[in-house]
Amino acid sequence: MVKLNRKIYVREAIEQAIKDYKGLAGFRLSEKGKYYLISIKPKENGTQDVIEREFCNYILSLEKGM
């Protein structure tokens, strides 16, 4: 589960990242308090950590262009 601060991360960027990572994992996006909660289920075993971390980096890179 990835927790992203709503004041820092933009929902639009998260949704775009989910679209772009669709081929690698299944995603579920929800909100709780001041965080976006994203549950990630990778299609390949053993890739959970890498996908979560790269996913966060990718969102940051998308936000830079917004």
Binding site: N5, I8, R53, N57
Partner: protein, 154 residues
């Protein structure tokens, strides 16, 4: 100067530090983070109005020294972007002026130079003819008799 508080964890290969947004605007933190995307996993948290937590997790194996260096490089990059943000803020009016004058000069001449007839008081009445260009050719030439006399004299 007070250094930002930090926590280094070689076991997790990460360094966590906190930055006051009064000193480091979120815009500059984002820009610095973007530069480190290929070297570290970056996670941001906190309150953008008070303090931002930055977690850098090295993509390569890193001991305490390397993690300290990573943090130091991040802070240097942050300073670089702080300066850029500051310069951009200071030069904003000049940039706006340059863009505006460039746009005006790129307009076709007819649009940029043609005076508005309705508002132009100096244009005067259209029936005035101060240069005498409204005179017909016949009126402007001497009478035919005078011309004949001149020819005979020659």
């Amino acid at each position: 100067m007070q250094l930002p508080k930090r926590k280094i964890s070689p076991k997790d290969q990460d360094v966590v530090f906190w930055l006051k947004t009064k000193n480091y605007p979120l815009e500059a933190i984002f820009s610095a983070a973007y530069v480190f995307i290929d070297r570290a996993y970056i996670y941001l948290d906190g309150d953008p109005e008070k303090e931002i937590m930055v977690r850098l997790r090295s993509k390569e194996k890193a001991d305490k020294k390397k993690l300290e260096a990573l943090e130091g490089e991040f802070l240097n990059e942050l300073l670089n972007f702080l300066l850029r943000v500051e310069i951009a803020r200071n030069n904003q009016k000049i940039r706006e002026y340059i863009v505006a004058s460039a746009l005006v000069s790129s307009l076709p001449e007819n649009l940029s130079e043609q005076p508005s007839v309705e508002n132009d008081q100096s244009a005067g009445d259209w029936r005035d003819d101060p240069l005498g260009i409204a005179t017909s050719w016949e009126d402007a030439q001497p009478a035919p008799k005078k011309r004949e006399k001149k020819a005979k004299k020659k």
